[in-house]
């Protein structure tokens, strides 16, 4: 959908306000969000989402204003054994290819479960899918509160992000965008017409920390508040949102050429410094031998998912992102 941009100068000589310039986008109206899904335990050892979903189920929370709320423990078998997954990572099973693959006796549990979830919450890309799907995750990385999605032009998601960013002060709030077409989108949130993940850290897997739980709960409360507001006709003004990070590339652990074992730890100057600036020449890894490996890229980028436990098996030490600001249009629910 095309947006028209106009530059308007506002001046108010009377009360000595400074001249401001705003980029205007044409207001957008979108259909109401009548069916919302909240998923926890997509990774069975990421405990905030598990306990939050269970608590909402205990409270029998089934509505958010006019919207129905569906709460799901996505990977119950993994939750039962408190592991990330039993056969394969559920949160990589939602590509079009895997969702449509034929099921045999050899099909991993998580692939079958992904297809079940697709029926329950999707079908992905279909008019029958959940209007909004929010997937709850934790990370061992020091990422505060991060919203993760596939696009910066889903205005519902961007306005939710802006509300969360404005209202939550107990943790830094950021937005991470993975630039992938819908068919290749591999995570559960891609089942919804609008979908995103809430990622809160740092928290060890298998542990529930009250401070981290409370941050996630606040983020979910703000999301549901926004949905109710939106559905009841609130007009959300346009503007700019910052602290948006686009995935650029992954950085892998150095390995010993003889034993193939990981040969270094994240350098103490990088550990816990997610979203800081990584300049060429900054330390990245401290080898067990004592040698320091430095960042040799040409571009100053921002590391995130620094020392995430689950990424060791993929050999990923951290990801790198570019930071940007996004302009979002005024948004209101579409009146029939």
């Amino acid at each position: 959908m095309k947006q028209t941009h106009r530059i308007t100068i506002q001046a108010s000589a009377k009360d000595n306000r400074k001249h401001t310039s705003k980029i205007w986008m044409e207001p957008v109206s979108l259909p109401a969000l009548s069916r919302v899904a909240l998923c926890g335990g997509t990774h069975g050892n990421e405990m905030s989402g598990v306990y939050l979903v269970r608590e909402l189920q205990r409270q029998k929370l089934e509505k958010a204003g006019s919207a129905t709320l569906t709460t799901v423990i996505s990977n119950p078998r993994a939750v039962q054994v408190c592991k990330r997954y039993t056969d394969t990572d559920l949160n990589r099973c939602f590509t079009d290819a895997i969702l449509s693959s034929p099921v045999t006796d050899a099909t991993p549990y998580e692939v079958r479960r992904a297809q079940e979830l697709n029926t329950l919450l999707g079908p992905k890309g279909n008019v029958g899918a959940m209007d909004l799907l929010c997937d709850l995750h934790n990370t061992t990385a020091n990422m505060g509160l991060s919203l993760i999605s596939y696009s910066v032009q889903d205005w519902v998601i961007m306005h939710i992000y802006r509300q969360i960013q404005r209202k939550i002060t107990s943790a830094p709030v950021r937005f991470i965008v993975l630039d992938l077409p819908l068919a290749d989108a591999y995570s559960q949130d891609s089942l919804g017409k609008h979908g995103f993940s809430i990622e809160v850290g740092p928290q060890p897997h298998g542990v529930v920390r009250a401070d981290i739980f409370n941050i996630m709960k606040e983020a979910v409360d703000q999301t549901l508040d926004w949905v109710q507001c939106f559905n009841s006709g609130c007009a959300f003004e346009g503007g700019e949102v910052d602290n948006v990070y686009t995935f650029v590339k992954s950085v892998y652990y150095p390995r010993d050429p003889e034993t193939n074992q990981i040969a270094a730890a994240i350098h103490p100057q990088l550990q816990d410094r997610d979203f800081c600036l990584l300049h060429p020449g900054d330390p990245m890894f401290l080898m067990f031998s004592g040698e320091i490996l430095k960042y040799e890229g040409e571009e100053v980028l921002h590391p995130f998912f620094v020392n995430e436990c689950a990424y060791y098996e993929k050999s990923i030490a951290f990801h790198l992102a570019r930071k940007m600001t996004v302009t979002i249009p005024p948004l209101q629910v579409k009146r029939d």
């Binding site: 205990r58 408190c82 061992t140 060890p204 920390r209 009250a210 067990f288 436990c309 689950a310």
Partner: protein, 313 residues
């Protein structure tokens, strides 16, 4: 305290082992021991045979705490004397093998010292774990280590308790020492945690070297935290956890918990307070592995232990 003319004599500590991977997802010990198996120069000391050893290789391979049962609870008399066989849980078989190599537990042939390397998700810093309040050799070593790393601290947890017993891998040796360093998530290697553990071990081996050279260590005292009581999470009638460690208690290992202080927070925000008789010092606060052992934290009481002078025979 009056000085005693009694000096306890111990044999030279000639056989020392360093265990890593007793829990396969506690990465500092796994990494250090693997490094030292490849190149053991750093842990060599004159007159000492120092053997680095991965105790639970299958758990290490899967990066999990254990495969069938917790190896660090498996060294019971019953397990060690059971007839060996493939039908036994993996860790029980392993305990029997370890007992053969480094023990037998309780016999004169057992290893002199075993250091068992662990990590915890709790904010315990560099904790030394002592199993007996009467082991002067261990007490003197811990006193030496504490002085060596000052002003950094090294709390000592005394696990001696009439009821709460656990039969650890290191208990095979005459002088068992646990090193518990945190906070670190399971499966993760943090550089600072790794380096702290390395430094503590260096001082421990230095002590052994000095002792073996004939140095006499005068009487000393060591402040310790003696385990008192295991505190579980509040649960509902189905056994499900209904509250989390309170934000005020989280990360406050070794700090006083007074009656009336917040202890747990329910998922809907209510505070549950500590209602014990007096001040305690909690530790192992919110350790991931203890959810299944029904333990949110363990309370301890402060005590000062005295160790007599020691020297080698």
């Amino acid at each position: 305290m009056t000085s005693s003319t009694n000096v306890s004599c111990f044999h030279e500590a000639r056989r020392v082992a360093i265990f890593g991977g007793t829990h396969g997802n506690e990465m500092s010990g796994v990494t250090l021991v693997n490094l030292w198996i490849q190149n053991g120069k750093e842990i060599q000391r004159k007159g000492v045979e120092t053997k680095p050893f991965i105790t639970n290789p299958r758990a290490v391979e899967k990066c999990t705490r254990y495969v069938d049962t917790d190896l660090n609870r498996a060294f019971t008399t019953e397990n060690l004397s059971a007839p060996s066989g493939d039908d036994l849980p993996y860790e029980v078989q392993r305990a029997q093998q370890i007992n053969e190599i480094f023990g037998p537990k309780g016999s004169p042939e057992a290893y002199d010292v075993i250091f068992d390397l662990h990590n915890t998700t709790s904010n315990m810093g560099c904790t030394l774990i002592l199993e007996s309040s009467k082991d002067y050799f261990n007490l003197q070593m811990m006193h030496y280590i504490k002085n060596a790393i000052a002003p950094d601290s090294c709390p000592v947890l005394l696990t001696e308790h009439p009821l709460l017993k656990y039969s650890t891998s290191r208990s095979v040796a005459k002088h068992p020492i646990g090193l518990e360093v945190g906070p670190q998530p399971q499966g993760v290697l943090r550089s600072n945690i790794f380096e702290s553990m390395r430094v503590v071990l260096k001082h421990a081996l230095d002590f052994i070297e000095l002792f073996n050279k004939g140095l006499e260590f005068p009487p000393c005292t060591v402040d310790v935290f003696r385990v008192s009581e295991k505190m579980d999470y509040p649960r509902d009638t189905n056994g499900n956890i209904i509250a989390m460690v309170h934000p005020n208690l989280q990360d406050c290992d070794w700090e006083p918990l007074n009656p009336g202080d917040p202890m747990f927070q329910t998922f809907d925000g209510t505070t549950i307070r500590y209602e014990g008789a007096g001040t305690v010092y909690p530790t192992f606060i919110n350790e991931a592995a203890y959810y299944e052992k029904q333990q949110a934290f363990v309370t301890t009481r402060r005590e000062t232990l005295a160790a007599g002078a020691i020297k080698k025979t």
